[in-house]
């Protein structure tokens, strides 16, 4: 009933660009959340026990006792003594050939992987009972700045998505108002013929939903392609840290559903605008 001349309207392109950017922001948020979760899973259950003893013999004995005690704990999934040779290689750049000296008080180290939901404090207490001077490094603590940064990125991405959706709604409101102005004469005639506000709003809704859907398909397809390419390149990097950025099945479902939400948002914004504007007329 409204003039459909004009073919692919500017609104369609705006919608495509908005959705493209929204999907990228959403993917960033979902990816960083995945990464933060993966980091959390990997590091939350890991710790390293350092046993410092002057005498190599008593240090090795203490390490053996501690290792045996740790392996008996149900909270411990795996406990492994770090190989002396590996430690030596790690320290060699700093200590030079002296690192091979058996009298050098290099601490014995035990890597511990905890079972899921394990009582970390209980494990620490068990180690301290055997060796009160031992030092226990929780890996989670080392990575907490990284984890915090990833959380910040996730929240930033969420804020971007919300801003993009708000901007989209604003664009729809402006387009609907402009449409009302353009079609004022037709709408007045329709009102005089007994048309209700909702009937008029439905015309605009349908039109804006169509624009949003076409724009959504274009912008969504482009964004999903970009994300697929980025995902493939990320996977090819083989990085343990960046690997967490990969999107899961649930994330892809969210991204695919987002355009539908986008069209719904545009439709509702158009309806609210038109009905609100018409209410001010007779």
């Amino acid at each position: 009933m409204l003039d459909e001349a004009g073919g692919l309207r500017a609104m369609t392109w705006v919608m495509a660009i908005m959705l493209f950017l929204t999907l990228l922001a959403a993917a960033l948020g979902l990816g960083t959340r995945q990464s933060a979760n993966a980091l959390e899973r990997q590091l939350a259950g890991r710790l390293t026990v350092q046993l410092v003893e002057g005498s190599p013999a008593s240090r090795d004995a203490l390490a053996a006792r501690t290792l045996a005690a740790l392996r008996k704990l149900p909270a411990v999934r795996r406990a492994t003594a770090v190989d002396r040779g590996q430690l030596t290689r790690l320290l060699e750049p700093w200590l030079g050939s002296a690192v091979g000296d058996a009298d050098l008080p290099v601490p014995a180290m035990i890597d511990v992987d905890l079972a899921a939901g394990a009582d970390l404090d209980g494990v620490v207490a068990a180690v301290k009972r055997i060796s009160p001077t031992s030092r226990i490094d929780r890996h989670q603590r080392w990575m907490s700045p990284v984890s915090g940064f990833l959380d910040t990125l996730t929240w930033l991405a969420l804020a971007l998505v919300v801003l993009m959706l708000a901007a989209t709604a604003a664009v729809v409101v402006l387009a609907a108002r402009a449409g009302l102005e353009t079609h004022r004469a037709t709408i007045e005639v329709m009102h005089m013929l007994g048309s209700t506000d909702l009937q008029v709003a439905r015309l605009f809704q349908r039109r804006i939903a169509l624009d949003a859907a076409i724009g959504g398909i274009a912008g969504g397809a482009a964004a999903l392609m970009v994300l697929a390419v980025l995902g493939a390149r990320l996977a090819a990097l083989g990085s343990q840290l960046l690997g967490g950025l990969m999107l899961g099945v649930g994330d892809w479902i969210v991204l695919v559903l987002l355009p539908f939400g986008f069209v719904l948002l545009a439709t509702l914004a158009a309806r609210a605008t038109i009905v609100g504007a018409l209410r001010r007329s007779l």
Partner: protein, 236 residues
């Protein structure tokens, strides 16, 4: 004869200016034919706007189909507007719709199923002599043809009241005669017709029609006594 429209001491003021209409009181009987006359600027169009609910009065009482139209909530107006057919002075055809779609508009607005739209539209086009011009857009129609499309659109929903604002203003005398006959035939089917015109020649063409004359926003015959009683009409 039942009264279908009742105005009591109605006044209309646009903004803060002087009243365009003052102390308008009259009643319209169901099934009668009325001419509303007066010089340009007398307030004919403003009065018609009140009648077809495009405007609310600044004061007074308007009763339409037995209900108070002044305080009527907005959401009830569409239902009442569907009972009134309007032929606008400037036609107000929707420019991007064909003659067919313009005429079908009231039925579509009323939610008539598409299958039930075709036959009445075809009949209307034949009635106004535009069957061959169904696909034409308003811009390609002559003034008279546009006028007839506007009339067909106004009457297709079988309104109880037909309001026409200077319907013969843009057409030659022959076409004016034909249009008046169209209104008369509709009136004979029971529709109350109100035609605003400054062409006094038209008045003599409709037997039994009544006249209301506006002068500077006031009814020249404020008592509402009209020249011809509506009972003079055969169908009344």
């Amino acid at each position: 004869m039942a009264n279908i429209v009742q105005f009591e001491n109605v006044g209309l003021r646009y903004g803060t200016g002087q009243e365009t209409l003052s102390d308008i009181s009259f009643t319209l009987g169901s099934g009668a034919f009325y001419f509303l006359t007066g010089a340009s600027g007398a307030g004919k169009t403003s009065l018609l706007k009140l009648l077809y609910l495009a405007q609310r009065p600044s004061r007074g009482i308007i009763r339409l189909f037995g209900e108070d139209a002044v305080t009527m909530p907005r959401n009830r107006l569409p239902g009442f507007r569907r009972r009134i057919g309007v032929v606008f002075q400037d036609f107000r055809l929707v420019p991007h719709l064909s003659a067919w779609d313009n005429i079908a508009l009231p039925l579509r607005v009323a939610g008539v199923p598409e299958d039930d739209v075709e036959q009445p539209v075809r009949e209307m086009l034949a009635w106004v002599g535009l069957a061959e011009r169904a696909a034409a857009r308003p811009a390609t129609l002559s003034g008279g043809e546009q006028q007839r499309v506007a009339i067909a659109r106004a009457v297709i929903g079988r309104p109880e009241v037909l309001v026409a604002d200077e319907p013969t203003g843009n057409v030659d005398p022959d076409m004016a005669d034909r249009l008046i006959h169209l209104f008369e035939s509709l009136n004979k089917l029971g529709t109350t017709v109100v035609v605003a015109t400054h062409d006094l020649q038209l008045l003599s063409q409709v037997q039994g029609a009544q006249m209301m004359r506006l002068d500077k926003g006031r009814l020249a015959d404020p008592t509402g006594v009209l020249r011809y009683p509506p009972t003079a009409r055969g169908h009344a």
